[in-house]
Symmetry: C2
Subunit: 494 residues, 2 copies
């Protein structure tokens, strides 16, 4: 059977990914190194992600604000691990003016006394600011968030997954006690996991990162890890317990109830436009993008089929009436998003256009539907079309969207389950990771930097996380036989 996307997932997964994005018109690479242009369909998905996340962030008591994107070198230097972690990928502003040289070419002029780094993350500027804002225990907890663009110079960029500039949300909080900061770190991790499962329909594992994979400067980093359809893991969000490291580096202190100065405890957490890459690789198929209804910019598309019909206006009128009744229904507390495709392309081309864009429900309306007061319905999550009476369609619409959302999560969960294995010895481990779709491997392992580097080198496999659930008892490390092993998830990763 011919597919809308060439190559298929089985033929060439990385190229399939690029083609799904291209055919759905989500984004494109720009001539600026590693930077993408997020096109309207991709940006509308991002806006839906933002809106829902922003609601959840505010609901948990955080306030949005905005910090400058420039960070003086002297700030970023203050936390030693932090700066070393980002030094290799920092874009640096050194001049504040352009002048024309003798040949009329533009060249940078007016060098800055102190070069500025474009934020690779904002802990340094936030730390400096929090130190000014926090004086007493009354100022705590300080719960903030910002939506911003970030720059980390990327040598091997891939649309959404790794780009030099990307968009994200970064939470920054300060607390009175270690417990409160640790609770916050996990609360936001849980929020991300719930959001991923129930909004993106993307199942994730919550876990703690190894020392090697921690955020530079964190005491503990937690992440949510999703599985893509090629069996690779995607780190889809992180939440960091920063302890008092940044508090000490930036002198963020408060006066406690007894009048004594103490350092605060801080956290940070973020998700990025990378989520869109995860979304693409979780649900899409060989016919293109598949979108969960929750975040589809259009949830129902109506395609008028006026081929050879003498009176197209009657069909258009029927479509308009249909659209009105669809908009009258609420899904996720918002009117259902519907569009009529009035373009003059052929019905077949129009149908495929919307398949590739991932719209959950498509209705084809021709003379027959008009005469019988029916709709001809296709769902993006399954094959086949059926004829349904207009009224019945409206009555069951919310249920259908709910079902599509649930089906996508169910299918994705099944895939994760099918591609997760428990392994109990090194030989099987090495053998397993030479198979094609290796997925997640659960195994007992005692944290060890040398082993981590070895399997990375041999198999390109990393420890994704120490999952928070399933940690009932210690086990025998599959590499060393040491009895102090913890259950961890290994995988190849993006």
């Amino acid at each position: 059977m011919k597919t809308a996307i060439t190559p298929t997932r089985a033929e060439n997964y990385p190229e399939w990914y690029q083609q799904v994005i291209k055919k759905a018109d989500l984004a494109e690479t720009s001539a600026v190194h590693g930077c993408m242009i997020i096109k309207p369909w991709g940006y509308a998905i991002w806006e839906n992600i933002q809106q829902e996340l922003d609601r959840r962030i505010k609901e948990t008591g955080h306030e949005n604000l905005y910090f400058p994107m420039f960070i003086p070198l002297s700030y970023i230097e203050k936390e030693a691990e932090h700066v070393l972690g980002f030094a290799k990928e920092c874009a640096v502003v050194t001049h504040r003016r352009l002048i024309q040289n003798r040949e009329g070419k533009l060249i940078p002029a007016s060098p800055l006394k102190e070069p500025l780094v474009i934020r690779p993350t904002s802990e340094a500027i936030v730390g400096t600011t929090f130190a000014n804002w926090i004086h007493s225990y009354r100022d705590l907890p300080l719960l903030t968030n910002q939506w911003a663009n970030i720059v980390r110079w990327e040598m091997r960029p891939r649309l959404f997954l790794r780009t030099t500039e990307f968009l994200w949300q970064e939470g920054h909080t300060a607390h009175i006690s270690e417990k409160e900061a640790r609770d916050e770190t996990l609360k936001m991790l849980n929020m991300y996991a719930d959001f991923a499962e129930n909004f993106l329909a993307m199942p994730v594992i919550k876990g703690r990162k190894t020392e090697n994979e921690k955020f530079p400067g964190a005491v503990d980093t937690y992440s949510i890890e999703a599985m893509m359809q090629d069996g690779k893991a995607l780190q889809a969000g992180t939440s960091h317990f920063l302890g008092q490291k940044f508090a000490k580096a930036f002198q963020i202190k408060y006066v406690n109830l007894k009048g004594k100065q103490e350092y605060v405890w801080t956290t940070s957490w973020g998700v990025t436009t990378r989520l869109i890459g995860g979304l693409v690789m979780t649900h899409s198929d060989d016919n293109g993008l598949v979108l969960p209804p929750s975040l589809a910019p259009i949830q129902v598309v109506i395609v008028p089929v006026i081929h050879k019909f003498k009176n197209p206006q009657t069909i258009y009128n029927y479509c308009e009436k249909l659209a009105e009744s669809i908009k009258g229904e609420n899904y996720n507390n918002k009117p259902i998003r519907v569009k009529i495709d009035f373009t003059d392309d052929s019905p077949g081309n129009k149908a495929w256009y919307w398949v590739k864009k991932g719209v959950p429900i498509r209705l084809e309306i021709g003379p027959k539907e008009y005469k019988t007061n029916n709709v001809y319905l296709s769902r993006r999550d399954k094959n086949g079309k059926i004829s349904v009476p207009h009224k019945k369609f409206i009555d069951t619409l919310v249920m259908q969207l709910t079902e599509i959302q649930r089906n996508l999560l169910k299918t994705a969960k099944k895939f994760v389950k099918q591609n997760s294995t428990e392994i109990t010895n090194k030989k099987d481990f090495y053998k397993h990771f030479t198979t094609e779709k290796s997925g997640f491997v659960y195994a007992y392992w005692r944290e060890d930097d040398a082993i981590e580097r070895q399997i990375k080198q041999d198999l390109n496999v990393t420890v994704r996380c120490l999952p928070l659930v399933k940690q009932k008892f210690a086990g025998k490390c599959i590499f060393t036989g040491d009895k102090g092993g913890r259950l961890v998830v290994f995988a190849k990763a993006y």
Copy 2:
């Protein structure tokens, strides 16, 4: 009478402005040159501005997207006037890495082959992209918008009004004909004017800029000009008809119905976080910020007055019930935003806190209110407090917010009227602009670069615009006596 803000407007207007921002906790300067930190109260106002503008931008058929913030020098060079207009204020990225030197200090490393400018505006990257996207007349009109951060190096920064980094929205469109592009330019100018008057309660004059004051690279620039309480003008938004200048510079062409290649016609338009500065200086008074209800992050604040009262919980319960009934009311199609101030400060301090933050309606609830089922009401737009029965307050709440919104616009309009003068000769013109609150001066003038520079030098006065209304006939230029004068607005400006 003691005022909450020192100095008052009359004593020292610029310092009053800084103090209003400080006391309302809207924003603060950062240690990064010219960059501000937008604090939660300021950012919440920006979010309300964004939400309403975004709705209007989408309603007029524009789609949001996102372009990279880096612009290669070779792009920005393509339109000669454009690059000259921005060269003096461009932040330039020249390196992509940091390394430690022998003393352990961080220094920029890995110089870029081609330096990158941080967008001072996006015409160059948009032009390059549109040239790839547009092929045929079917691709037109192309109606896009982005929300982004912008950098223009600012030598004399002022919070919100002039900052090195600021936030904005920039629309970019391409059209098939000059008429269509001109219509778009004016449509968006009108949208901005309507938004300013009916959402910000800030009256504006719509007009065309002189050649001197045009956007670099535009054929025509239009602006909305507001009047601040010191009589100075604030350019609050601009809409540019770019003709075919950028189309030719970036080779944005399409094939028309006859199969012939043509250049498109483009426009761009934007408003920035500067609007918040305008808002502050339009409505605020010597007691601090005054916010129109439409964009107040909190529209009603409830202050429990539990001083010496034995059973505070009954008061709190009464406040909670009150808050619930307030949230049940809709203003501008959204539930009214209400907050109970549970902090343990004195009632007086709490009241002044919310006065300085500009909250439109304040309710003080003490034992008396609790016992009589009343609320003790203060409105930020007028003096005095009154006792109102709970039910009557709820029944009239939407009307009261509507009235406050209308009053603020009315007061601002009256101020503009009182501070606008028509002047018919040069002598009066010079005399007038040596008075303190000089406001807007309407006068006939024949566009002339030399005169423009002269009055700028002599009086620090500029032509704000050639207003679109009132242009019924030509008049005698007050400087030259030439009969081909047009009615223009002169003012000192931010």
